[in-house]
């Protein structure tokens, strides 16, 4: 009761005094006489500079946090072992092998299996071809009856060494990077862009 009475009195006062109290004869002093402009501006600069430097300091860990994936080397799939080279010395026809690929994707490790062909060229050198057709990515199959690779999807045909013979593929079969380590044949699996004339590494 008393409270509401007080409020009413104040409301009346408020109407009369609102302008005055805002800009202030009774809130005297600094409002009418702000500190000299020079000092205010200087302080403003000091505060601004301080704020910017603290914000800058704080943003260092944030930027490093956000850029973390960029600092990690692109996940180069390691070398997959295909066994001793002697396994392929007698070979005339291409040998199909399956290799397991491990890829790191952020907090995941993704496992997959890929097919490759080990081919002994006329010169006696070994080469490793990916089974993925450079046309649309189907798995190429080796056909022993005519000694050709054939893609089951659109009938692209390749020689035993992977040279394009006929069909829609834009280029030869893609060979993979390989090495011989302690007598073992090893290969680094990669995928390549399809439908283009030259071999381009995708991953």
């Amino acid at each position: 009761m008393i409270g509401s009475h007080v409020t009413n009195v104040h409301q009346t006062l408020m109407i009369e005094n609102s302008e005055v109290s805002k800009s202030g004869s009774n809130t005297s002093g600094s409002l009418d006489h702000p500190p000299p402009t020079g000092r205010r501006t200087f302080l403003g600069w000091v505060i601004g500079l301080g704020t910017v430097s603290v914000a800058g300091l704080l943003s260092i860990p944030l930027v490093r946090f956000a850029l973390d994936p960029l600092t990690r080397a692109a996940t180069s799939t390691g070398w997959s072992d295909l066994g001793p080279t002697s396994d392929f010395s007698e070979t005339t026809a291409p040998q199909k092998r399956t290799i397991s690929i491990t890829q790191t994707d952020g907090w995941r490790t993704v496992l997959s299996e890929k097919s490759i062909y080990v081919v002994k060229k006329a010169s006696g050198e070994l080469t490793v071809l990916t089974a993925i057709c450079p046309h649309l990515g189907c798995s190429v199959k080796y056909n022993e009856s005519n000694n050709q690779f054939k893609c089951p999807c659109h009938n692209g045909a390749f020689t035993t060494e992977g040279k394009l013979v006929s069909g829609p593929p834009p280029r030869d079969m893609d060979n993979l990077e390989m090495r011989i380590q302690d007598g073992h044949l090893q290969v680094r699996y990669q995928t390549f862009r399809q439908l283009v004339k030259s071999k381009e590494v995708l991953a």
Partner: protein
């Protein structure tokens, strides 16, 4: 005038289009009756912490996945792998504690200074709403790492909601997204934590700051809350500097704490663990302890009635107490009740820790949990392995393994995929052995149907023994 003349061309151009000088004036020249004081720094301190929580929260969301399968792994990844990840997560986690502490101090200061008086009812209530929302943020955020303590503390928290009369079970199921805790619970808590509650916080912070500026600063306890009479000082520069100093102390303290003592992550939640003793975050300990005293039929008194009375009292406060008196010692009932509640909460928190220490079995289990957390923090990060189930699972039987070789040698994988998962050129074979028995499989492989032939499926021309091996492999595709 002189100032305007001094303005650079650009500033004057900008001001004409945005009115930025007016905004600056509005923001900086706010009169503070009785002058700047350290007691007033907590509100802007809270704004600073809020800003820090938003920024660190957004960055954490770059790596976090809200699913029971991956949440723990992604937090582990952030903590152990990502550059500065442990630091950012610690800033966010300690920031929540800083928020609660500063909020209680801000509320206490407003209460003891009687600053809610003088046509500030809605301002006060918007502050109480913000208090509730922040408590909600702390509750929902706690579950997100999905480690043991997060899981079990939330299981207890949602059980408490289940004690509410009539709607309790429904409320609990609504929070959990079902009767049990699971991945739906996590999704709900995530949505509440990053979308729903923040929306409320933005709205109420806007209202709170606007209403504060509208009502004006209440000034010191000797001031008339309706019509300030004391000599005033502008917000800028002295109060601004005090606010900045306080914010800098907060930055420094949170940064130092996060750097020297990063927040830990426990092992992944194991719902089957019956030994685990959940303990909430420290600022929830008083409530945790309080609820121990109210069980069975009386639970409703402790969970609903008493907290309801306290909340109702706080909301009603500015409507009941309209006297001009602001000095706490001249308002003994108000001061005494607030101090009692505050001391009671502190005592309950202390009691909770004391009881844990006094009970040997509990102390042993808590020590064991701490050791497990330490051990987990030391184990290197292990990524989640994904791929076709059979690559990860047990190796194939010799027959099936031979069958798999036949599967790739005959380029079945070309169309049906490495592991029969199917490609755009051929259907998946997973489950094919459920659809067809052995003889039917032999038949369609030897003599594909016209539809299969149209899809480029050639008859399988391998010896009968090999065909049996191939089918042995197909039988593993489930």
């Amino acid at each position: 005038m002189k100032q305007n003349a001094k303005q650079s061309g650009f500033m004057s151009w900008l001001d004409k289009r945005t009115g930025i000088e007016g905004l600056k004036h509005e923001a900086l020249n706010e009169p503070i009756p009785g002058g700047a004081r350290w007691a007033y720094v907590f509100g802007s301190g809270l704004l600073y912490i809020l800003l820090s929580q938003i920024v660190t929260g957004v960055f954490l969301a770059m790596y976090y996945v809200a699913s029971a399968d991956h949440a723990h792994t992604t937090i582990e990844y952030i903590t152990k792998q990502v550059t500065a990840g442990g630091f950012i997560r610690s800033l966010h986690s300690y920031g929540s504690s800083a928020m609660v502490v500063t909020l209680v101090v801000h509320l206490g200061q407003t209460y003891f200074f009687g600053s809610y008086k003088g046509r500030r009812e809605i301002l006060w209530i918007s502050g109480l709403m913000l208090f509730a929302l922040v408590i909600g943020m702390a509750f929902t955020g706690y579950l997100l790492p999905w480690d043991e303590k997060a899981y079990f503390a939330t299981a207890v928290g949602t059980n408490i909601a289940g004690e509410v009369p009539i709607i309790g079970d429904w409320l609990k199921a609504l929070m959990r997204g079902g009767t049990e805790m699971g991945t739906l619970t996590l999704s709900r808590f995530f949505v509440a934590h990053v979308f729903l509650i923040p929306a409320g916080i933005f709205a109420f912070v806007g209202a709170h700051v606007y209403l504060f500026r509208k009502a004006g600063s209440a000034g010191p306890i000797s001031e008339d809350p309706y019509e300030p009479k004391q000599k005033s000082e502008q917000f800028y520069p002295k109060q601004v500097i005090m606010d900045i100093v306080f914010a800098t102390i907060l930055v420094g303290a949170l940064g130092l704490l996060s750097y020297l003592s990063p927040v830990e992550l426990g092992p992944k939640a194991n719902p089957a663990d019956t030994q685990f003793l959940p303990r909430p975050e420290w600022y929830y300990l008083p409530i945790f302890q309080w609820l121990k005293y109210w069980s069975g039929a009386y639970a409703i008194v402790g969970i609903v009635v008493i907290p309801g009375i306290v909340a109702g009292f706080l909301v009603a406060l500015p409507f009941m107490d309209k006297s001009l008196e602001r000095r706490p010692w001249k308002r003994p009932i108000a001061s005494f009740s607030f101090a009692t509640i505050l001391c009671g909460l502190i005592f309950l928190g202390w009691q909770s820790g004391h009881e844990d220490g006094a009970d040997a079995a509990v102390a042993k289990q808590l020590a064991k949990q701490a050791t497990e957390t330490e051990a987990f923090m030391k184990t290197p990060f292990k990524s989640e392995t994904m791929g076709p189930a059979m690559l990860i699972a047990a190796p194939l039987s010799p027959e099936a393994a031979k069958g798999k070789k036949l599967f790739t040698d005959n380029s079945c994988d070309g169309c049906h995929g490495d592991n029969g998962q199917g490609t755009e050129n051929g259907p998946k074979l997973i489950g094919v052995s459920v659809k067809f028995d052995h003889d039917e499989l032999v038949k369609v492989l030897r003599n594909p149907t016209q539809k299969m032939r149209d899809g480029n499926m050639d008859p399988v021309e391998i010896p009968d023994d090999d065909l049996a091996l191939l089918i042995a492999f197909l039988n593993t595709l489930k």
